[in-house]
Subunit: 207 residues, 2 copies
């Protein structure tokens, strides 16, 4: 996996930090030619979700088959469910020059990193931990046990930031999105993404 | 030299590529808290230039004394003149959180890099070499010999880009400046520039 025209952008951050809102807004801006990767999951479909758009909803058996066929760029068991990124969908987009966003947890992100160092790894941070607690509690879609798991996981994940290239503090969604747009513009200027044809310059020089 | 609040931004590129115009426009935008570092030089003052603003104009003897006292962050002999960046001026600004721009040649840039890896190294490229030739010829302030030297040097410098973090193609000054603004915004989000207080998060978590 190397030399694609598009960039692979990995966005992680603790549960409740606002990753999905940021990613949605980033896509809606239609800048930087970005598209969101659709994950496969074994978790229960929520009423508001559409199969193939929100996630590819899979049975545990189907998911295990995909693992066996090495069809995931990364996968992880989070709480009691599997989540994974189907590899081929991502590659197809990168080849076309589309910048693909993966909104995944830190375990998945590190799997991607070990396979594809050229990825851009962004960690979304809460301005403070209390805001995160409030957001998770307010969501109200989970049991008390799930909430406790989420809070502990959120605290643990913040320690993983050292493995990311960029930290974006989400004190304001628009500002956070603007920062990510800047990161993508800057990354497209990075020397290691350029292929320069010195021959062309040489021909012009001796012309 | 480490741990300053401000960023040290090194901008290089072949003669005639438009570095000065870009830097001037960047300063005028008053974004990113940037200031241009003023170099010392032994070259002859041009009519339009002001001592202490354009450059610190020095005699060769004065310049040699400064080298001897290790007062330069970098210095180089380019054509027949010395150019150098007085160290203390830069440090004073970085400590205050000012982002300092050094507009210097590739030799100087590599000296800075060996002293201060945390610098942001940006190389300005022409969209094609012919444009560079035309710009240098149009300038008309130098002799034929000087022009030849500049052209050869420009061609040589383009090979140094591999040592820079970013390449900004100057096909349009405003766009080039916007890209640099983005690079600075992105750099300020880089994980290695952050100091995170985990204790604060921990206290909130167990609150």
């Amino acid at each position: 996996m190397d030399g694609y025209k598009g960039m692979l952008i990995v966005i992680s951050g603790p549960s409740g930090v606002g990753k999905s809102t940021i990613c949605k807004s980033l896509i809606e801006k239609k800048l930087n030619n970005v598209e969101l990767s659709v994950s496969a999951t074994t978790r229960k479909q929520r009423i508001s979700e559409v199969d193939g758009i929100s996630y590819y909803f899979k049975s545990e058996h189907e998911f295990q088959e995909m693992i066996y066929r090495n069809e995931f760029l990364e996968y992880a068991k989070v709480y009691d469910n599997y989540y994974g990124t189907p590899k081929q969908h991502v590659i197809d987009k990168l080849v076309k020059g589309i910048n693909v966003i993966l909104e995944i947890d830190t375990h998945g992100a590190m799997q991607v990193k070990s396979n594809y160092e050229k990825g851009v790894f962004i960690f979304i941070m809460p301005p403070c931990f209390n805001i995160l607690k409030t957001r998770i509690l307010k969501r109200g879609t989970e049991s008390k046990g799930d909430i406790k798991k989420r809070l502990e996981s959120a605290f643990g994940e913040i320690h993983e930031i050292i493995n990311y290239d960029y930290i974006v503090v989400n004190d304001d969604v628009d500002k956070a999105v603007d920062k990510i747009v800047c990161i993508l513009n800057a990354e497209s200027c990075r020397t290691n993404r350029y292929k320069i044809d010195f021959t062309e310059f040489k021909e012009e020089f001796y012309d």
